[in-house]
């Protein structure tokens, strides 16, 4: 009897060890580079598509995007274009990361190229200065570079806005009949324990924008004092108990944990669609304090697959890629150019919120955003949470 037990144990252990070593042996080792005369990467000039594809082939047709969840701003379709049309393999890293986490991931993997190292990032505009200053990004200008508005890109090609959106209020109308339409409404007593924001203002671009937008509403779009005013607004919200420490998402909205949320339109609108009335979600842009939040793409300076990363950006900035953003309610950087050329289908345009809100949106420059981000990150804990 003991013999049987022993044999079974031994067998299990041996087979597991065999499996384990096979598993470990199969890991590691990325795609091989090499081959003659790969296109130059140092000047940031555009690489023609055929040369790029050849280089990608030599690299092993892999790319590691980081912090790009599939259901965020239409990245699902973009990933499909890459895998289906170009045969790329994607290592989707850490989709739950925020902007600050992505930069840290680049720093941490500086000397360790491999399947864990990010190739392409997607960060809030406020983080681009840090990234450029620290030399974390590589230069590149996509084929459609000239049609990207000047304020949406770094002149030398270190970063380039993928898409932008505006902050919206989303309300679970099963639980709330009196829907808030503007920032001052949120302070009403009837919304006690109801409002959730999307993340931590010390690390998340979206949360920083939420603070700024509230501030812009209070200061009547005076950018200079908006950060301070925003912190004061949220301090009040926290004090009267309207602000919840919970991160808002579709789940908390549906369950009623945070019946009111503040998220980008390209997150709120797909959430409304997915929930499909279960519960019904009303998404609207606030009357004042409309902030445009551009998200910028970048290529890591230490990318293990630099050509794959460049192909990734080419896809994102192609008409198809930009349209993928728009179909999920995120305004692509080349929106104006595509509208002018008439390449946007009418039915897609019809799903978007009214254009006049976007016209009234306040767009901060990179420097303004970076300064506001630092101020808010440094003071959130003390001013709002009183610690």
């Amino acid at each position: 009897m003991t013999t049987r037990k022993l044999t079974r144990r031994e067998f299990l252990k041996l087979s597991a060890m065999a499996g384990g070593s096979a598993l470990l042996a199969s890991c590691g080792g990325g795609g091989g580079g090499g081959g003659a005369a790969l296109p130059d990467l140092t000047t940031g000039a555009n690489i023609p598509m055929d040369a790029l594809l050849a280089a990608v082939e030599a690299e092993g047709k892999v790319v590691n995007p980081i912090a790009m969840p599939r259901d965020w701003a239409g990245f699902d379709e973009i990933f499909h274009i890459l895998t289906d049309e170009y045969g790329m393999t994607l290592n989707e890293l850490s989709p739950e990361f925020g902007s600050a986490d992505e930069l840290e991931a680049i720093r941490a993997n500086r000397d360790a190229p491999g399947p864990q190292a990010p190739d392409t990032i997607d960060i809030g505009i406020g983080y681009t200065t840090t990234a450029t200053d620290e030399g974390l990004l590589a230069k590149y200008k996509v084929a459609t570079w000239d049609s990207i508005p000047a304020g949406f890109k770094h002149p030398d090609g270190f970063w380039f806005v993928h898409y932008y959106g505006v902050l919206t209020f989303e309300t679970n109308t099963n639980l709330i009949t009196n829907v808030p339409t503007d920032w001052p409404d949120l302070l009403k007593a009837e919304y006690r324990n109801m409002v959730g924001i999307a993340g931590d203002p010390t690390a998340s671009n979206e949360a920083v924008s939420t603070v700024l937008a509230a501030g812009l509403s209070r200061t009547n779009n005076d950018i200079g004092t908006a950060a301070q005013a925003g912190l004061e607004f949220w301090a009040e919200m926290n004090q009267i108990g309207n602000l919840l420490p919970v991160t808002v998402n579709a789940g908390t909205l549906a369950s009623g944990e945070t019946p009111i949320g503040i998220e980008w339109d390209y997150l709120a609108l797909p959430a409304r669609d997915t929930l499909a009335g279960n519960p019904p979600l009303e998404v609207l842009v606030p009357d004042t304090g409309i902030i445009a939040g551009p998200y910028s793409g970048g290529i890591s300076a230490f990318a293990p697959h630099p050509y794959g990363a460049r192909l990734f950006q080419e896809v994102v900035f192609s008409d198809a890629g930009q349209l993928a953003h728009l179909k999920k309610y995120a305004h692509p950087a080349r929106f104006d150019d595509m509208v002018a050329r008439g390449v946007i289908p009418a039915e897609v345009m019809a799903t978007l919120p009214p254009a006049e809100y976007y016209a009234r949106a306040t767009t901060l420059t990179v420097e303004q955003f970076a300064a506001a981000k630092e101020y808010i990150a440094a003071n959130w804990r003390s001013v709002v949470l009183g610690e």
């Binding site: 009897m1 003991t2 049987r4 037990k5 022993l6 079974r8 144990r9 299990l12 252990k13 597991a16 060890m17 499996g19 384990g20 598993l23 470990l24 890991c27 590691g28 969840p69 259901d71 965020w72 989707e92 890293l93 850490s94 989709p95 739950e96 991931a105 941490a108 993997n109 000397d111 360790a112 491999g114 399947p115 864990q116 998402n249 579709a250 789940g251 909205l253 549906a254 369950s255 959430a271 997915t274 929930l275 499909a276 009335g277 279960n278």
Partner: protein
């Protein structure tokens, strides 16, 4: 004994209420995915998502590897400590409790920085993750095995077995391991459960494990995370049941230290 019985039932009842209420609430919420009536569409979504199978498979694989590595590391060590070097016990115990002294988040950071780059470039293979999981399981494995060994008289058993002509390997695998079955199993359960649901290391080391997958689901879907929680609970429970069945062995095996 009758009186003790009643109190036992009361305590167990209270415990079960506390444990099952959240599960019931989660289940009820997951059933609300269809408008107007209760339905399983959230579960259909979860099962049809390719990420679910692949991520759970990853975690399952790593859990098994971790358990094996941990057993092979801990049991002989603790046995040896009990038998031959009891004065080194505090050292071993301290080391096994290390993951408590240095929390997982910090340990992850330290491991990343130490093993990111040549000549120690371990980070690119799951070996580092498995090592991290073994570390996480160390306190529980050590505790369980230690308590189990404390409950049997190791010295006598070993001497008895050796006086019957057994070598070290035989003593270990035929005498000690069977007597530790209950203790080992509890450590194994814990290790398995830890690895399946583990988030910190998997996220910081950027591996597609089940933990980060659940976080990602939680960020984007409303009802599916609840369904996922229920499913993961049942799957883990089933897996542990399998482990228990595998470790059951023939009834009434050669247990020298008769007890209970």
């Amino acid at each position: 004994m009758k009186r003790a019985n009643v109190w036992s039932w009361v305590i167990v009842f209270i415990g079960l209420v506390y444990f099952f209420l959240p599960l019931v609430a989660t289940f009820l919420f997951s059933m609300r995915a269809e408008l107007g009536h209760l339905g399983f569409s959230a579960y259909r979504y979860v099962f049809s998502d390719p990420g679910f199978a692949s991520n759970f498979g990853y975690s399952l694989r790593w859990a098994v590897l971790t358990i094996i590595a941990s057993l092979l590391l801990v049991v002989p060590t603790v046995y040896w400590v009990h038998l031959r070097v009891p004065h080194l016990r505090p050292v071993v115990e301290f080391l096994s409790l290390f993951p408590f002294v240095v929390p997982a988040v910090v340990l992850a950071f330290g491991l990343i920085k130490t093993y990111c780059c040549p000549p120690f470039a371990l980070k690119v293979s799951p070996a580092l993750l498995i090592a991290a999981y073994v570390i996480l399981s160390l306190p529980y494995m050590f505790r369980s095995v230690d308590a189990g060994l404390r409950a049997i008289d190791v010295r006598t058993l070993t001497e008895a077995a050796q006086s019957l002509g057994a070598g070290w390997i035989t003593v270990l695998f035929r005498v000690i391991f069977p007597n530790l079955r209950v203790a080992i199993l509890s450590g194994v359960f814990l290790t398995f459960a830890i690895v399946i649901g583990e988030f910190t290391f998997a996220s910081l080391f950027a591996w597609p494990a089940f933990g980060p997958y659940m976080v990602l689901m939680g960020q984007s879907r409303a009802y599916e995370p609840a369904a996922l929680s229920v499913v993961s609970f049942i799957l883990t429970w089933a897996s542990i049941g399998v482990i228990q069945w595998v470790g059951r062995g023939a009834p009434g095996g050669a247990q020298v230290a008769g007890v209970r």
